[in-house]
């Protein structure tokens, strides 16, 4: 959990650093506000990175945050701690599997288009991942496909993506 959080925070820091660095290449007018905002974002991100790297900084900030909430009896910090504990319990395998399924839907849509990817994704997801019955998996895929076709293609006349293979 801690390593994942470190990776995510450093990823955000990397994006901000990259954007701030790029800012200096723009004309003065175009870089004025991005620099002002970017420097603030950079300070905040560096502070966050220090907090995930060194426990001392995290404890210092935690104490300040508790003081901030003390008067209003706010339970925000408790909620956050609970969320962190919950995150630690997260099943990594399941997480990766969900991302893969979502990626399958996006890639399938790009390659085969909405009309094929949607029912295929729904059916396979319901049957293989959710272990639903054949009837439910098939009927739900059909109903959603029909609704999508009726609303978006028939009523609204939106030219839905047909896929790159067709």
């Amino acid at each position: 959990m801690k390593t994942e959080e470190k990776v995510f925070t450093f990823f955000l820091l990397f994006i901000v650093v990259l954007m701030v660095a790029l800012t200096f290449g723009y004309r003065p007018g175009a870089r004025l506000v991005p620099i002002l905002v970017g420097v603030c974002a950079l300070i905040l991100m560096v502070s966050l990175c220090l907090m995930v790297l060194f426990q001392r900084f995290a404890s210092l900030y935690q104490r300040w945050e508790e003081k901030r909430h003390m008067y209003s009896k706010d339970t925000e910090s408790e909620d956050l701690n609970e969320r962190m504990r919950e995150a630690e319990r997260t099943d990594r395998k399941k997480e990766r599997s969900v991302v893969t399924w979502l990626l399958f839907l996006v890639a399938g849509t790009y390659v085969f288009g909405f009309f094929i990817a949607i029912p295929l994704f729904l059916f396979l997801f319901l049957k293989l991942w959710a272990h639903e019955t054949w009837v439910l998996s098939l009927s739900m895929s059909g109903v959603v496909w029909g609704a999508v076709f009726f609303i978006f293609a028939y009523i609204l006349g939106i030219p839905l993506h047909q896929g790159i293979v067709f």
């Binding site: 007018g29 175009a30 004025l32 991100m45 008067y71 969900v98 729904l122 978006f152």
Partner: protein, 496 residues
């Protein structure tokens, strides 16, 4: 001057045949379009306009206004049930609407949203009608400085919304503002942060990003944890719960009035946008209500305030559209087009030459709120069942709807990829306690803040921000928003 005879005649037209059919059908269409992520009231009007060609202007406006008016309430439904705003202006309803659904109070949230929307819509239209002479003069005094201050005021909510710690909220907000700079610079047209990708020239599309951050991020979490939206041990939605929401709204009438007034005022300013109305209203509710620590955790007042403001702003937005021909939003721009197509010239003359159409617009907006409330309240307990369906059944459907909704906005596959990427970002942000709402606020208001700030600097000096009366008042309001909670807290402790 108010023409009672004409007003009554228009009212008779609306409740007569086929007026009542158009009012009801328009309201239902609007609610459906508002409730489907990716579609909106604007899309509904665009779809309906060709069908109004054979109608007289009054009847056409009745149908279109009813459709658009109901879409705003429709947008609150996915916010509460699946953490997905139909449109950015509805995003503020998520802050407390979704936590209410998680606690098993979706029925109450939907009931209060329907009531607050109706009351807000009514108040917005009445305030607009009564304040036309004053508001018109007031609006003319708005310039770049005021726009900047309005954007800044909206951004201040980053420090107030309670998802994660303050430092993570601020970091998310600033990160969102940085992302809003992607694409053409609004003043010099220099391309920024596009990395040679043509898709990014217009910037990061807000609605697909919103779908990803809020909806995809949330449903991924539901799937991983294998839990429904509503907690298993929470109470089942019932009609009684829906009525509790209605009662709660009437109990908080001062809040409804304050939020509606704020919504009308913001709606009347062209270019500020509905998102500001919802969030500012939420912020004022959090700042002025007792026991504000419950906001963000499923407080019904956090639903009432943005919903009332959201619907009231539509009344306000009618004023510049009709009086000056300046549309305050994309929906009003489409509406303006519809008026022109029917041969109606907007401007001060509309209140003389086409008063019947103006009355019909107002009556339709009032009528659709009533019909939407009746429909909304009667089906709220049924809709709340969605929050109890097991995640493996509902989440793949939400994935599909969000992806197709983001594609439908511009018929662009790039938007689908943006939704996916922001979905991953939203999931990780949620997991590590970063504020997704703060990022969205930054993304939504960053461009407006930058553009107005630079336009203000091009036309005058920085001191003009503090010497223009409205701008100064807004600046003081920003200071008050940031400092008052601390002053209050210290006072409570007895330090000062």
């Amino acid at each position: 001057m108010f023409d009672l005879k004409l007003f009554v005649s228009m009212l008779a037209n609306m409740v007569g045949w086929p007026g009542i059919l158009l009012l009801i059908s328009g309201t239902i269409i609007g609610m459906i379009f508002g409730a489907i992520p990716g579609l909106s009231g604007t899309t509904a009007i665009v779809v309906l306009i060709p069908m109004t060609f054979g109608m007289d202007p009054g009847t056409a406006m009745l149908w279109l206004a009813a459709t658009y008016g109901a879409a705003t309430y429709g947008g609150a439904i996915p916010c509460i049930l699946i953490n997905t705003p139909g449109e950015p202006p509805n995003a503020a309803t998520i802050l407390d609407g979704y936590p209410m659904a998680q606690k098993g109070k979706a029925g109450m949230a939907l009931g209060s949203a329907a009531t607050a929307s109706t009351l807000g819509g009514f108040i917005g239209l009445l305030v607009t009608l009564l304040m036309i002479p004053v508001l018109t003069r007031f609006l003319m005094a708005f310039s770049y400085q005021e726009f900047f201050m309005m954007a800044l005021l909206g951004l201040c909510i980053i420090a107030i919304v309670g998802e994660g710690t303050l430092i993570k909220g601020l970091a998310s907000g600033f990160f969102g503002i940085m992302l809003s700079f992607v694409g053409y610079d609004p003043i010099t047209s220099v391309l920024r942060y596009t990395f040679g990708i043509q898709y990014l020239w217009d910037g990061i599309p807000v609605v697909p990003a919103l779908f990803g951050l809020l909806a995809i991020g949330e449903v991924m979490d539901l799937l991983v944890k294998e839990r429904a939206v509503a907690e298993a041990q929470s109470a089942r939605a019932s009609r009684r719960q829906v009525w509790a929401g209605v009662r709660a709204t009437f109990k908080n009438m001062p809040l409804v009035l304050r939020s509606s007034a704020l919504g009308t005022f913001i709606g009347a300013i062209p270019g500020v946008g509905g998102t500001v109305a919802g969030f500012l209203s939420y912020m004022q509710a959090k700042q002025t209500c007792k026991n504000s620590e419950n906001f963000g955790k499923g407080d019904v007042r956090g639903v009432i305030a943005p919903e009332a403001a959201n619907d009231a702003k539509e009344g306000g937005a009618l004023l510049p559209t009709l009086a000056f021909g300046i549309p305050g939003s994309s929906a009003m721009a489409v509406f303006l087009g519809a008026l022109t197509l029917h041969g109606i010239d907007v401007g001060q003359d509309i209140f003389v030459a086409n008063l019947d159409v103006v009355y019909m617009l107002i009556l339709a907006a009032l009528g659709c709120h009533m019909v939407a409330a009746v429909i909304g309240l009667s089906v709220a307990d049924k809709m709340a069942i969605l929050t109890r369906i097991r995640p493996t059944l509902i989440t793949p459907v939400i994935f599909v709807v969000c992806l197709i909704g983001s594609f439908a906005l511009r018929n662009n596959m790039g938007d689908v990829f943006v939704t996916f990427l922001f979905g991953l970002l939203g999931y990780e942000m949620r997991k590590f306690g970063f504020s997704r709402i703060a990022l969205i606020l930054g993304l939504l208001l960053g461009t407006m803040a930058e553009r107005s700030f630079r336009q203000a600097l091009m036309t005058s000096t920085i001191w003009r921000f503090f010497t223009r009366p409205i701008s100064l008042v807004l600046f003081l309001a920003i200071l008050a928003v940031l400092i008052l909670p601390y002053v209050r807290a210290y006072r409570k402790r007895g330090d000062i």
